[in-house]
Symmetry: C2
Subunit: 206 residues, 2 copies
DNA sequence: GTCTATAGGAGGATAGAC
DNA sequence: GTCTATCCTCCTATAGAC
């Protein structure tokens, strides 16, 4: 391909991408709402407004549907990381990411996957787009974690991997759902409370 | 029943109870290993070593099987609470409970339920034994939480319900599994690390 | 690429003999 | 109460016309 055609994106191709985007959004909603196993392909098709067989022309399996949704949120996360000012303190960037993640979950836009091994894990572990995104995000967060530890903001005794996992876990923290169900607090209150328990801990600070 | 027969427990009845206990243990293991939706009744039957139809003579549905397992762990939790010395500090009792819970999870004995609404939630919400146990545990933990806040151990600004949910959430914390999978730490190390992030938080303490 | 219709199979639950 | 054999529903995935 020494000479390539101009990158013309035909109207048809745009429609295709738009449809795939609609599919991914529907999958994302359903995954956030019911989880992978309870989500059925029929529901996805009905939600998008196309026939189930048409879905399988776009994605070869239910697992690939979910994987596409995961790639999508990973891209959103990367885009969010890009918006954070480079000159900001590492700890502030980390806090912003966690807040953003919890906001996504409270808004019903954070897909929830089975934590146990399953067919989905296999598909996900073979998805380069997902793995690449996850790796990129982890490396950037990891660097900020070490910077925040060096500057005395984060506890330097905690292995960075533990901090990273603890931050990731806020994306599927049942405390968020329970507090939301209790109807005692607004979403902002819930985020503030969980931010406090996460970063400050449960113990009193002297 | 003014005059009751002596509480003789026949041999047959003991065998029955023993079998039901074996069923519950198998369910417990499978729930901890794969979760409710991925657990199949056939696996339970195979694990116990009886026919599936026999299972349904003991428990009317898959949901009731899981509910029985939940009642069982709730009873274990109540029994553990009973072992804590009454004169101990509230904060120490809370810490002991969380450690015990995480040990159970790392040992593969903590059943994991779908966090989303499902048929299981409905069954569980109609199970008086489960609800009663949950209420009892919550009240006892709630009292300790308020005591620990009053004595300056726990952050008094956190609503007790938030503390309670945060402690409960350690029973299904994915950080435990991830750290275990990473094979970097022993179970004791993992518990110590998560205890630290839970009670001390991620921030450095001055 | 979209549809209708259906194959194929997994899994929860039950019938009926013993 | 335990078994074998079976029912029946739901769901993933595909065939084949247009």
């Amino acid at each position: 391909m020494a000479i390539t055609a101009p990158p013309k994106v035909s109207f048809k191709a745009q429609m295709l991408l738009a449809r795939e985007d609609a599919i991914i959004q529907a999958v994302n909603r359903l995954l956030a709402d019911k989880g992978f196993e309870a989500m059925t392909v029929d529901q996805v098709a009905a939600d998008v407004g196309i026939a189930k067989a048409s879905l399988y022309k776009h994605f070869p399996s239910k697992e690939d549907l979910a994987a596409a949704a995961m790639v999508s949120v990973m891209k959103r996360a990367q885009a969010f990381l890009d918006t954070l000012p480079a000159e900001a303190q590492a700890i502030d960037k980390l806090r912003a990411v966690v807040k953003w993640t919890m906001g996504l979950k409270l808004a019903g836009e954070m897909p929830s996957l089975p934590s146990q091994n399953s067919s989905l894990r296999t598909t996900l572990m073979g998805n380069q787009a997902y793995l690449g995104g996850l790796m990129d995000v982890s490396l950037r967060l990891g660097a900020w974690i070490e910077m925040a530890q060096a500057s005395g903001d984060l506890n330097p005794k905690l292995p960075p991997i533990v901090v990273l996992y603890t931050l990731y876990a806020r994306a599927c923290d049942p405390v968020l759902e329970f507090l939301k169900m209790s109807d005692l607090y607004s979403n902002e209150d819930i985020i503030a409370l969980v931010m406090s328990t996460c970063f400050d801990g449960l113990n009193a600070r002297v």
